[in-house]
């Protein structure tokens, strides 16, 4: 099964990269952009058929390695889950 992990910076954590992208978009005429936050997406292929167990394992992976919970939030999406 596939799991999709989305990692984003917590509110209040400075995102210099997002700010630079926001400025560039404004310079290109996209003046409606007021804020940009950059995150990352991690796609995992996992030998598991039970979505509940998969979600639990992936949450462990997020807590252990994939995200730094001091500054990042994560969410887990399992496309095959009904």
């Amino acid at each position: 099964m596939q799991a999709i992990v989305n990692i984003s910076l917590k509110e209040g954590v400075l995102d210099p990269q997002g700010r630079a992208i926001s400025h560039s978009l404004n310079d290109l005429g996209f003046n409606e952009v007021s804020d940009v936050r950059v995150g990352k997406q991690i796609l995992l292929e996992i030998d598991e058929t039970d979505p509940a167990r998969l979600r639990q394992r992936v949450a462990r992976m997020c807590e252990t390695l994939l995200s730094n919970t001091v500054i990042e939030d994560y969410s887990i999406d399992i496309p095959d889950e009904e």
């Binding site: 954590v13 210099p16 990269q17 390695l65 730094n68 001091v70």
Partner: protein, 234 residues
């Protein structure tokens, strides 16, 4: 104990690049060559100081220091620290220490989005008892170079208040004769180095091993390292 009896171990990850410089620096001060310990090792010979050197461990993949922080050797380093052993993390080593939780906070991208490589002026802060600050005079300034892209120290305000209250802030960037703004990376409250809550673990962004001789442009790194080593001996 004498300086030459001090057992120093330097951890080497794929992508570490200040391991040898640190080895030479320590040997220059103690006349004893530190052990270089590969990250795949699962155990650590008894050491009086473990150093996590600078570099780009695992190519900074995922987050700086994240993969190194979960290497097999780090369990042994965590055990060493849990027994009250001394640990120093420089630059990428500081990032590794934050990733393992051995020191609080996290190092994020420089506010200016640029890799910064230059001298900075550091001020020693009043700290809890620690071998890394014991030999230095309160308010003593040191000029030591930084070289990093992710040295912007971050923790939330409550945590920063707590660290300051506990005396866990070891060094701050201050104005000096260094070129450029005092704070090179946007670090919260100008923090350049922090201690663990028992004072035995130090993480700092500046590279003392790069300020060891007049040919380096300064010897404040040698002063800092020597005082730390002497405090560990006594």
């Amino acid at each position: 104990m004498t300086l030459s009896a001090l057992r120093v171990a330097i951890i080497v990850f794929p992508g570490s690049n200040c391991d040898r410089d640190m080895m030479v620096a320590i040997e220059q001060l103690t006349s004893r060559r530190p052990a270089l310990v590969w990250h795949k090792e699962a155990s650590l010979d008894p050491a009086d100081l473990v150093i996590i050197p600078g570099g780009f461990s695992f190519g900074d993949y995922l987050r700086c220091g994240a993969l190194a922080g979960r290497s097999p050797i780090m369990n042994a380093v965590l055990d060493h620290a849990a027994r009250g052993g001394a640990v120093m993390g420089i630059c990428n080593g500081f990032q590794v220490l934050t990733e393992t939780g051995m020191v609080p906070g996290v190092l994020i991208r420089n506010a200016g989005l640029k890799f910064t490589c230059r001298n900075v002026r550091l001020q020693l802060c009043e700290t809890l008892s620690s071998p890394f600050t014991a030999g230095l005079a309160m308010g003593e300034d040191l000029t030591i170079p930084v070289a990093h892209n992710e040295g912007n120290y971050f923790a939330d305000d409550d945590e920063l208040d707590r660290l300051e209250g506990n005396g866990q802030v070891a060094f701050r960037y201050v104005n000096g004769d260094a070129v450029g703004p005092a704070n090179p990376n946007g670090a919260s409250r100008d923090i350049a180095g922090v201690l663990s809550n028992n004072g035995r673990v130090l993480g700092m962004m500046p590279h003392p091993e790069r300020a060891m001789s007049k040919l380096h442009g300064g010897t404040d790194g040698a002063t800092f390292l020597l005082k730390s080593l002497e405090a560990l001996v006594s």
